[in-house]
């Protein structure tokens, strides 16, 4: 299957991780080896086998809708990288041309 550095860069962008050229050169062959190794799951995954997403036989879990106090805004904002007027300040969300 041979993942190229360009493939890994593309996956990195999808995952919002900027990778350096050095990282790409290192990661591509490593990921190839790992993916080749894990591909053997297909050997036994027959069409008749149902998938398991979770170990517990739980479906939906409900609770009563009870009002409880929220965390104080100051406690939450204290951890933020940037705050303005009692809110999270974030970089612009639109592209250059917008």
């Amino acid at each position: 299957m041979a993942l190229t550095a360009a493939d890994v860069a593309r996956l990195g962008e999808l995952a919002r991780i900027r990778l350096t050229d050095e990282e790409l050169a290192h990661l591509a062959p490593q990921l190839d080896v790992i993916l080749a190794s894990v591909a053997r799951v297909t050997e036994v995954a027959g069409a008749d086998v149902p998938p398991t997403s979770h170990a517990l036989p739980l479906t939906n879990v409900f609770r009563d809708d009870v009002v409880i106090p929220s965390l104080p805004a100051e406690a939450v904002l204290a951890a933020a990288p940037a705050v303005e007027d009692g809110r999270f300040r974030v970089p612009r969300i639109l592209g250059e041309e917008a």
């Binding site: 996956l11 919002r16 991780i17 998938p51 879990v61 990288p81 970089p91």
Partner: protein
């Protein structure tokens, strides 16, 4: 016996009788951390003032005549994955450096309510991804038995703190073996409870369908005492099991295994397994047989596919869970210069803040979940998960517990596997099936490998919600081995030249 080498159960009795104060116990452990942690590097963060204040509060409550639980005044080392107010939670990652969570995890709160004295937060592989602590964003923890070796991972800091007598109790999380494998290579006890038996609320998520908090200790009884405080239904965790906690303390005190059927997993042994590990494992089996258990061989054919399935399911969940580290609401932010867009700031922050293993796993997960590959990778892995659960079901129809070595080798050398991810992943070969199926499992020390003199772990696996069986078997093995050795495995380290720097020898 000195404060440092005493078990939590012994300390509890001495605190209750008034022979010791919680402050003395806390101070002795803080002094030990001060003396040896430069070498061991188990802790990312220690707060002596807070620990002493918590100890004083316990002493005051006891002086006022209050009835306290068995762990009141007992110090504990907390893996840095559990949130605790008033202290940083990094999860071993630079992306969370300096983050102080605004709430306690359910388990943190239970420990505080029980009067447990938290000494600090322990080192771990970044976001619990690794088998050696070498993936920590801060530093590598050293195995107290041999400082050139890894302490296991991801919970290597918690296991090393126990083995270095820096704390009598610790907690960890086990997603693929992160409690059991460190326990195995440090000669300590580690338990992965039944999935859903311990709350994940306030535990930084790695792979949510697998993550299981659990107890770490130097004895089976201590682990049981901690287990019973940690466990129980939590309405804040939607995957928490609403069922009574099994009587793990009673089982640990009993250790009666007469008539128990013990199944040896035939797939776990042979090529890739260190001869000394297999030898100690076989000797432990003979001991259990001598105590009245019946030993049978059981085949679990799909366990051979567990590692492959795990390295698809776990990274898929990781790629989703770690999306929350987006540089917007907390944690690191890079490139916020008024020019870069939010997307670009996320790219730069995550590129700088995550280490190599986190990046590998996020990218594998992104690939495995992408359209065109989903069915072949993630879909097939989910089917293997079913097959492994069926293997367990069939096995537990024939036997009460399954056993294997915890990990195929003793502690490897620091640096040995960092450039070979697959070799690193194989450390979890025997522990992963129980995470995929959600049943409970534990690692109990069963001796030192004759080829290198390092600890070997004996894994016990039991059906979901039968956690008490782990403690029954563990206590039986521990008791018989201690009577042969004249003490526990770590007492041997304390009195040996290799453990002289720990300065706890000869005080038995």
């Amino acid at each position: 016996m000195s404060i440092l080498t005493a078990s939590a159960a012994e300390l509890s009795a001495r605190l209750a009788s008034g022979e010791l104060s919680a402050r003395e116990v806390a101070q002795a452990h803080l002094d030990q951390i001060e003396a040896v942690d430069d070498r061991v590097k188990a802790f990312l963060y220690v707060d002596g003032e807070r620990a002493l204040a918590a100890a004083d509060a316990v002493d005051a409550r006891r002086a006022a005549g209050e009835q306290l639980g068995p762990l009141a005044g007992i110090p504990l080392a907390m893996k840095d994955i559990f949130t605790m107010t008033g202290a940083p939670t990094t999860c071993g990652s630079r992306i969370l450096e300096g983050w102080r969570p605004p709430y306690n995890s359910t388990i943190t709160q239970k420990l505080i309510d029980a009067g447990v004295v938290v000494l600090g937060k322990t080192n771990m592989d970044e976001f619990a991804m690794g088998s050696s602590t070498e993936n920590s964003g801060f530093f590598t923890t050293h195995n107290p038995w041999d400082n050139t070796r890894i302490p296991g991972g991801s919970g290597g800091g918690s296991a090393a703190a126990l083995a270095a007598f820096e704390a009598p109790l610790a907690i960890g999380t086990d997603t693929g073996g992160s409690i059991r494998q460190p326990a195995s290579v440090t000669g300590t006890v580690g338990v992965k409870p039944t999935y859903g038996g311990t709350s994940r609320y306030g535990v930084v998520a790695m792979a949510s369908s697998l993550d299981t908090p659990g107890p770490c200790a130097r004895s089976v009884l201590d682990a049981a005492l901690l287990h019973s405080v940690m466990a129980g239904w939590d309405p804040r965790d939607s995957t928490s099991i609403n069922a009574p906690v099994p009587d793990v303390v009673g089982a640990a005190r009993s250790g009666d295994i007469a008539g128990m059927r013990i199944g040896v997993v035939t797939e776990f042994g042979g090529e890739g397994y260190q001869p000394g590990v297999e030898q100690r494992f076989r000797e432990a089996l003979a001991i259990l047989e001598g105590l009245g258990a019946e030993i049978v061989e059981v085949s679990c054919p799909h366990f051979d596919y567990a590692l492959a399935a795990y390295y698809l399911i776990m990274p898929s969940e990781v790629s989703s869970n770690l999306a929350r580290f987006d540089a917007m609401r907390y944690g690191l932010r890079i490139g916020d210069d008024g020019q870069h867009s939010t997307e670009e700031v996320m790219n730069l922050t995550r590129g700088a803040g995550f280490g190599a293993e986190a990046k590998r796993r996020i990218i594998i997960g992104t690939y495995a979940l992408s359209s065109g590959y989903y069915d072949a990778y993630y879909g097939s892995a989910q089917k293997v998960r079913t097959l492994i659960t069926r293997d367990f079901d069939a096995a537990f129809g024939q036997v009460d517990v399954l056993v294997s070595p915890t990990t195929p080798t003793t502690a490897f050398t620091i640096g040995e596997r960092v450039d070979d991810p697959l070799a690193m992943y194989k450390a979890d070969l025997c522990t992963i099936p129980s995470n995929l199926a959600g049943n409970c499992a534990a690692s109990i020390p069963c001796g030192l490998s004759p080829d290198d003199g390092l600890p070997v772990g004996f894994q016990v696996m039991a059906p979901p919600l039968a956690d008490d069986r782990l403690y029954r078997v563990g206590a039986a093995l521990e008791r018989e081995l201690a009577s042969r050795w004249g003490g526990g495995l770590l007492d041997g380290l304390a009195s040996s030249p290799a453990g002289a720097y720990l300065n706890v020898g000869g005080v038995r």
